[in-house]
Symmetry: C2
């Protein structure tokens, strides 16, 4: 397969038309769809827009949309032709070879195949006179034509070469169809292909489309399947993004354009496997920005049970370990002991670098000494640096850069269970795409929690295999840690939560208080053995159980001023969640802190 | 009818439990529903909560909710009884006489009337042992019980005095039922009444409930009808607000509590007509904060065609008039010539004062000279002051405070067509309630527009009769006028828009540019007479037409730095809209300014 011709509709970006075109070109797109309202509101004449695009190296692939053009009561069709003639002239001036026509949404639309065919045929004649092709699209909320098979039937009935089918992944998939709906449609009858993804939401499809579309890889629709089917049919035109959402409308166009280009590169990779596959598997370490000899940070780490495990061979960097959990103190960074980077095991390291370069994710420039492991660093949209290590023992294992203290035993915590990263509401899609597209993690659905002063949304990301768990959090409202950003939570797994919280308390670590009422609720909800309930109550442990007998025991430290906190958790019997039933208790305690 | 017993659920407010209780008491509520999660997360023992409420003068009306208690597979019912016994003990400690039980939402719920009846009967026995009553509620998304007739059938079948019906206006109305669904249900079998309103939205009812509930008077559900039917049946318990939404979760609890209390006073007034009716009819004037002799402001007014029409008898206030449009310059206020107050004709003035006092809308304290008209001023949530005048010629007509220049003719503009007021997203419900509850205006549905850097939502408010039009705007995103607040638009009606924009240009008023492309689109869309299109193009007028032949011709001034602008419009043939098709052109021009 040759490289996709990559396009995007101007409606997908915020801003004014000249800025949009420049931003689209700078992001590396081949072509553009001109959205009529962008043109109407612009002082640029269509021929000036055409010249501007040519200067920028962009083809004008489509002019869109014309609406309510077929199924029109016959007495009104002359007005439609007048309207189309004017718009076709503008398409000519723009140099757009294709005009998108949406299926009629008017309550007055007439549902007659013969009338529709005759009107589309006449429209085809008019388009042909202007040297144009019309691509007819079944809007998911069209009055009579809202499924792709209906629009394809209409195109066949129209029986005119200038009337072609428009395929839009959102409209097709939103109505529950899939790639099979395109079976038997010849590619040369498909006039245009628009792509958009979306999260699964049970709501009016028009509102869903207006507010929640996103770029391929950010949602859950099988965009790649529909695109693959369209290409397999022989369609050779551009693959063009048409995405609008509450997020995109407010995001800077440069951010959106980069995000959009990455999504098409991801789509291309899904279709061709051109990029090397990556599957992040495990958390390796968390890096804190602190001088290795900072007494306060050292004191905190020691209280948590971490011990100095190694010293970097060439840099002012130390490695601290509590059993299987590793922290790294980096004295080259400033950040008051806050976590700022995450080390992951993700074979292969070279593949991650190749993907990051191809997908335009910025790589950190760091000096690398002779014999040091590669450990490339890539910055996520949240600002968190992600370092990629080979597995233990392999070349490029991050540990090989340290002179390890071999006397340190392996007892202690099991490892880093999950990492909580907080992002602003309008960056969640982009952060999700980072872990999904670059590192091969799979996003879960969005969970929502009430906070005392707002709401919290969470989405987990996990690999197909491996223990890595990343939790993305969005906090809305003006709560205590409303401004928290980046890594805000480190959750460590242990084999005996009661023993660990006892040890932490003895070491002077301030743990989050849990109200007595909580234990009365546990008693009500789970009918626990009184002795076990007493253990939980005595240790102020939170508890959850799943339907299969799995159990979670966990506790939190009090948050720092900037909202950062540590969790200790014990999973029993295959418990696979995060204690969602207890989140409101944590949020209330944090708000009270 | 005696006064309603007014209650509210703690889940309706943001914050932590002690703060919620204090805020609820301060707003004047009689009682409170304790939401279980608020209690679980609180260090206060239930008996301490009871004492706190007693100290605050609040009755604890309800403890809520217990979930998934009926239709439970028999082998699991023992666990349910254990859970209920614990929760009933807590209700006793709280002093709550009623516990709310929601219909089962579990996919495993069993759909058998006999099992449901037997389990509810057993629950009734347990409740009675604790001196409690259970109120059983049909959640709109219950697995088998989701309509009020189903829950009433279950209550009858349970055949136990301690099992009663819970009526929730949201759940009842959201499923398309209305007050008639309560026909024949005796009031003494209704154990609790919860009230919430909502805007009409076509979406999953659970998401609708979670994110978009609002207080009565802020939405479009017939809350008053259901409450009236419940009271008519003989229900004598509290009327209790249970409202959660994305707005309420983030709003300060004091704001929410005041809003909530106003909504119950409004509801009470709808039921009893206890407060005097008010119907604002016309715009009287707009007040600008500026010294009467400010040369810049005077220059602008003169360029717009306003002339000095009168001088206040006692204050440094002048009246400027352009035909039927009046502006007032108030030198006692500071605000750089910005509009800050709106005068309305709303009979009777005394009635508005009575309503404002009863509904806790703050009245401005202003000195009133002997023989001056009453002209009470009330501050809307947006900060806009609304002054209320009697009609022309009546006592308390605002004009009677001025020594008028009787030589000034009546030619000029027709009047103030509409006023645009911009509010933050989280204050739209409250601002809507101000005009609806206090002044009797009727809200329209929410319209949405794309802005170059975000989105704009608009809602109109109009009286049942009279020409007053208020447009509330919410701007999201960081566009040019993102921080604009208060009165941001004054739209004046005229008889000949082309003549007026010609006159304004000649007077040096900077009007908003309209691109040539816009006129090509007008030609395409409306197939206008070429001469008329030429007139529109020459005068750079915007245009719209409705299906009945009504037409709008309009133009805008360039916005000030803070986003304020003036519109001149000509309505022809009964055109009743606001030119929504042109809003994107205005927003683009304003973004480019």
């Amino acid at each position: 397969m040759s490289a996709l011709r990559k396009g995007i509709a101007t409606v997908s970006l915020s801003g004014l038309l000249p800025e949009k075109l420049a931003t689209i070109a700078a992001a590396g797109f081949d072509g553009v769809e001109i959205f009529d309202n962008d043109l109407i509101a612009s002082p640029l004449h269509p021929s000036e827009v055409a010249a501007r695009c040519a200067d920028l190296g962009l083809t004008v692939d489509l002019f869109q949309p014309v609406r309510d053009v077929e199924g029109v009561p016959p007495e009104g069709f002359r007005r439609v032709l007048h309207r189309l003639e004017r718009k076709f002239e503008i398409a000519q001036q723009l140099g757009a070879p294709v005009v998108l026509a949406c299926s009629n949404v008017s309550p007055d639309a007439v549902d007659g195949p013969a009338l529709r065919a005759a009107q589309l045929h006449r429209i085809g004649e008019l388009a042909q006179e202007h040297g144009l092709v019309v691509a007819y699209e079944a809007l998911a909320w069209g009055r009579h034509v809202n499924r792709v098979w209906q629009s394809w039937t209409a195109v066949q009935d129209a029986d005119h070469l200038a009337v072609t089918l428009a395929v839009d992944t959102f409209h097709l998939l939103a109505r529950g169809d899939d790639a099979a709906a395109l079976d038997g449609i010849p590619g040369d009858r498909i006039g245009f292909l628009q792509v958009a993804d979306a999260p699964m939401l049970d709501m009016n499809v028009l509102e869903w489309s207006r507010h929640f579309r996103c770029f391929p890889g950010q949602g859950t629709l099988d965009v790649a399947g529909v695109v693959a089917a369209t290409l397999a049919a022989g369609y050779a035109g551009p693959v063009s993004l048409e995405v609008f959402s509450d997020v995109v409308r407010q995001a800077p166009p440069t951010v959106t354009a980069r995000d959009a280009m990455r999504s098409l590169l991801f789509l291309e990779d899904q279709l061709t496997g051109a990029l090397p596959a990556v599957a992040a598997q495990e958390a390796a370490f968390v890096e804190l920005a602190a001088p290795p000899d900072d007494p306060q940070v050292k004191g905190t780490l020691e209280a948590l049970g971490f011990r100095l495990a190694g010293v970097h061979r060439t840099k002012p960097v130390t490695w601290w370990r509590n059993g299987g959990a590793s922290l790294v103190l980096n004295g080259q960074e400033t950040g008051h002991g806050r976590p700022q980077a995450l080390g992951l095991v993700a074979p292969s390291v070279a593949a991650v670098q190749t993907r990051a370069a191809a997908l335009d994710w910025p790589q950190l420039q760091r000096t690398r000494g002779a014999d040091e492991s590669a450990l490339p660093g890539i910055t996520a949209p949240s600002g968190v640096h992600v370092f990629v290590s080979a597995p233990a023992g392999a070349p490029d294992d991050w540990r090989s850069d340290f002179r390890a203290d071999t006397s340190l035993g392996d007892s202690g915590w099991l490892g880093l269970d999950h990492v909580g990263i907080t992002v602003p509401p309008d960056r969640l899609d982009e952060e999700t795409a980072f872990y999904r597209i670059l590192l091969g993690l799979r996003p879960g659905s969005l969970q929502e929690f009430i906070q005392p002063h707002g709401r919290l949304q969470s989405r987990t990301l996990r690999p197909a295999s491996g223990g890595l768990r990343i939790v993305l959090n969005v906090s809305q409202g003006d709560g205590a840690s409303a401004g928290a950003r980046g890594i805000t939570q480190l959750a460590f797994g242990c084999a005996d939560a009661a023993r660990e919280v006892g040890r932490l308390r003895a070491a002077g670590v301030a743990l989050m208080p849990v109200p007595d009422n909580y234990y009365d609720d546990l008693d009500a909800a789970f009918d626990l053995d009184p002795q076990f309930l007493g253990l939980l109550r005595d240790h102020r442990l939170l508890y959850d159980a799943d339907a299969r007998g799995g159990e979670l025991l966990h506790a939190y430290t009090m948050p720092c001023e900037d909202g950062f906190f540590v969790e200790i958790l014990e999973r029993r019997g295959g418990y696979d969640g995060y204690g969602a039933r207890n989140t409101h208790v944590r949020l209330a305690a944090q708000a009270a802190a």
